[in-house]
């Protein structure tokens, strides 16, 4: 993994443990974006510009599909996990007949669309994360929760695959962090980010929609590229596959950034990358406990959260030592994000600075 590590200039200087927010940026991603910018200045944004954008989009979509273990036709490109989750929940015809089970540990990117669903009449039942599967009852019509708990690093109960109720997963801390198989998870939808564990650009992301679930999710705001043939005006028909949900416009430099970052991870062997982060995170958790810290309950994931008397002050204090972690407002936790690019030395620096 030393070749992987050397792809990220910041890691020479900083113990950067914040990929759960935004990953470190590979030099190659910057270079790819700069190339695409230069071409726009010199060649303009004509037919060739759009062809290049679509080529890059196809490449990114293919990479995201490989990552989630699904068909490329089942992936829409988004600007964020939040946009993906929002599109699914806003596109579902939910109302007073619906009970949506979720957890008390969700990110605002899921809470927001659930608040909007509540305004349309749905009942939202928020239970502790580990109790999600038990909370599904005869009235439950939908489960919407995190694949990996963003506060603790716990994994969603595997029994959620077998409740018989459609499962919508916020995969912000899953995709690129741990192996993800959307077919095995048996989820109806899986939304994730390009800029976190995949080290891509802000404003990129993916939405998987199971083919059999797609017909239930209205494309609430289709645009030019959502249609099979947009020149048919009010008779235009949506694309048959998940591209109907694509975000309307992604900058070429941003797609190239995310694709180049993904290529860096692939060059290091994606399965090795996905295996290493959780192992190193478990090492950190063990060492924190050995130092007397109370670590939040966690799964075999890349997040490690521990209790702290003043998480925000601790975050700031660590930052002055070039150790980058984050606090989680509303919780007692400081959280470290440990990726395959992290080193034992990064962990030492964190423990020393604490």
């Amino acid at each position: 993994m030393s070749a992987l590590r050397s792809a990220f200039p910041i890691l020479e200087r900083v113990a950067y443990l914040n990929a759960g927010t935004d990953g470190p940026v590979p030099q190659a991603a910057q270079q790819a974006a700069v190339r695409e910018l230069a071409s726009q200045v010199e060649q303009g944004r004509t037919t060739a510009h759009f062809e290049r954008r679509f080529e890059l989009q196809d490449g990114l979509r293919t990479g995201y599909a490989e990552l989630l273990g699904c068909d490329v036709a089942d992936i829409a490109l988004s600007t964020s996990t939040s946009e993906g989750i929002g599109k699914v929940l806003a596109g579902l015809d939910v109302g007073a007949d619906d009970e949506i089970v979720t957890s008390t540990d969700e990110h605002p990117g899921l809470i927001g669309p659930l608040i909007a669903a509540r305004a349309r009449g749905a009942r939202i039942r928020a239970v502790p994360f580990t109790g999600l599967a038990d909370a599904v009852g005869p009235a439950t019509t939908l489960v919407a929760t995190s694949h990996v708990n963003w506060r603790t690093g716990e994994l969603a109960p595997p029994e959620l695959a077998d409740t018989g109720v459609p499962l919508i997963l916020d995969g912000a801390q899953g995709a690129g962090a741990i192996p993800v198989d959307v077919l095995k998870l048996n989820c109806a939808a899986y939304a994730a980010s390009g800029q976190k564990w995949l080290c891509g650009a802000d404003g990129t992301g993916m939405l998987y929609l199971a083919p059999e679930f797609r017909e239930r999710v209205n494309a609430i705001a289709p645009s030019y590229l959502s249609f099979a043939d947009a020149s048919r005006g009010f008779e235009s028909e949506l694309k048959a596959d998940a591209r109907r949900y694509d975000t309307p416009s992604l900058a070429r430099e941003v797609i190239a950034f995310s694709l180049a970052a993904l290529d860096i991870l692939r060059a290091a062997d994606l399965s090795a990358v996905l295996a290493r982060g959780p192992v190193l995170a478990a090492t950190l958790a063990g060492r924190l406990e050995a130092h007397g810290r109370t670590v939040a309950p966690r799964g075999h994931t890349t997040l490690v959260a521990w209790e702290d008397d003043d998480p925000e002050a601790t975050r700031d204090r660590l930052a002055t030592a070039d150790v980058i972690v984050r606090n989680l407002p509303g919780t007692p936790y400081v959280r470290a994000s440990v990726g395959a690019w992290s080193s034992e030395d990064d962990l030492d620096r964190l423990l020393d600075a604490l």
Copy 2:
């Protein structure tokens, strides 16, 4: 305007008349994006990264508000005209009681959300563009149309300001092309693009929502920054102003690109820029007619469309002479976009190549 023109390297070589799709890119915009990319590689994406993003967003929002003549609190940032229009129409509680008047000349970015509204029961009444105001009747609950017709360059009938029915304007060919005053237009919403007449990055745009209309437009998929205080979970409340509709994630390099491009136009005096494009476009229209071409009916705007036996072939033929225009699928037109950065020489080159 020669200083403005020199900001765009491509204009040294190419008669670039395609800002109605994507504007020419100023060198300074590329440089601004490159700086922001370098900082992410070197400094990581930590607290300072987000502060910088928000600073850039504030700057862009302020610029867009000045451009549209509204309060900065009434502008949401979007990735595209399509996203803005889509958010408004999807957020309205429209159904079988609604008749939405629109034109037969709309862009797919408006047609898509109208098709979605039709699926929820609304009646869509599409009439010729110039007949829009006359088509508003007692059953009409909404008008949704272009400010500037993207096919012809006509202006929406000014009487639409006085129908008493909320007016949603697709301003893709308005903002940055001609003076826009949303208060004078008396529109409920105005959506526009950052990458066309404002020469910004793909994946940027603006949505104006009149304060009194805002309460009718549900935030269907709010995310982290939509909330006044997202740490309150399911009790979180939306921001009071239009920021509740902000797109969830815009890349820092992309915002900087669009802001730097806007600064180039401001440095050339925005009111002079907005005055010059339409004058030069009128010159082109007159010269085309003098050459026996049939020019589409148009207003005092920056678009000039003329009939052609094979618009696509003509577009490609002109491109080989480094004259960039576009065809409009489903119409007999080739369309030239004439900006303040265009020159008489560009028009000569177009006429010669024809």
